[in-house]
Chain length 235, copies 2
């Protein structure tokens, strides 16, 4: 499958590597490919500079945001939330038209050491993206866990935990749920409904970061448990 990924940070490269390893044709988009290939400093999450990463993933092509979006049958927004609307504009509405746009970004903001969201509660980044690109089928997912867990849910608790999907197009949600299973082995995909539910998915981030602080690791996830028996599971 042809997949365009917008963003060369730790989330974008982690998704790109995992999707290419599964035989997909992946183009990663960036603002300035020459500039990205000239990077020598590690990223803010300690991830290697893009050229070092790409040397180990020669099957992943680098292009502009527009080239990546044009290439993809499915496009994944893995850009920094603060830049996502601009990144998608550079990608081009015409390259998103009619396509599923998987949005994994979060509108994170740190001030005084405390995480907040720059859009929340009565709106969400996913809804803003959908309003700005009405021809795309935005599906919010994978934004509620660490990048390593996104692409390999089995590394935490044997995969017995949940990922959410939100989107206004029911068929697109179902399609993405299937892709999450096929691509990464997600066993528990919970369909939250229309894109207003992305507010809830994005608003879990302030809790997520405090749980990370308490546990001392980002290698965790939320599992929804129901029923009386310990092993019960809703999906």
């Amino acid at each position: 499958m042809r997949i365009g990924i917008l963003g060369t940070g730790s989330v974008g490269t982690t998704l790109a590597g995992a999707l290419a390893a599964r035989g997909n044709e992946v183009v990663v988009g960036t603002r300035d490919p020459a500039g990205t290939m000239a990077r020598t400093e590690p990223g803010p999450m300690g991830n290697p500079p893009f050229p070092a990463w790409q040397a180990e993933h020669p099957e992943v092509r680098l292009g502009t945001f527009a080239e990546a979006a044009e290439h993809g049958e499915v496009v994944i927004n893995a850009s920094n939330g603060a830049a996502s609307l601009e990144v998608l504009k550079l990608a081009g509405a015409e390259h998103l038209e009619g396509k599923i746009l998987v949005d994994v970004s979060n509108p994170l903001e740190f001030s005084g050491g405390v995480l907040s969201l720059w859009v929340a509660n009565t709106d969400s980044l996913a809804e803003r993206i959908q309003r700005a690109f009405p021809g795309a089928k935005v599906v919010k997912t994978l934004n509620t866990m660490n990048a390593q867990v996104m692409v390999d849910p089995g590394r935490v608790a044997g995969g017995e935990h949940h990922v959410f999907v939100s989107g206004d197009d029911p068929q697109a949600r179902t399609r993405v749920a299937g892709l999450l299973r096929d691509w990464f082995g997600w066993r528990h995909v919970l369909d939250l409904g229309d894109l207003t539910s992305a507010r809830g998915a994005e608003m879990i981030l302030p809790l997520w970061i405090r749980v990370m602080g308490s546990l001392g690791t980002a290698e965790f996830n939320f599992r929804i448990v129901t029923g009386a028996a310990p092993a019960a599971d809703p999906t």
Copy 2:
């Protein structure tokens, strides 16, 4: 133990019944005890009118907010979030001074069928309460699940799921964690740290309500899973 509970709704009565059944001396506070005892209509959650409930729980006393707060060694705010600051004012700062104030309320607001919070992201209801009552030791907890699950975590997945505590006083957080274990059998209490973490705990509500909608039941909870093995648990 003497416990004062503010609020006669489904959360307040569920907590009161469970705590009295464990041998605690419980006073439930309301604005106008005579008016509460004259109620004949069920509550908004389908819970019985207070007099019908109390007939089955004669050991629970009803009083004013001030009487309940004065009675309690620990005071629990189980009032509607929209009314909580006023309820606590009626309870009286002098009756909260130096005491643990367990805050289980949520700043919920429904408009157009979608849940939002009237304080969120850069502040929380718990922090507002703490600022208004600096002599109380506010601990946010139990606000992330259905009332039946609060008092009987074992009814869901054998109790293998989490409750959070947030508060500026570390000893108060530890004390409340112990009370949650002793009172209701909570096995997994995750200490999130200072009261700014209550933002995260309150901000899970918009996700909670969508998960409830997807599952078709309020009898669920979030479990934090870590580690590689399916049964791994952090606490």
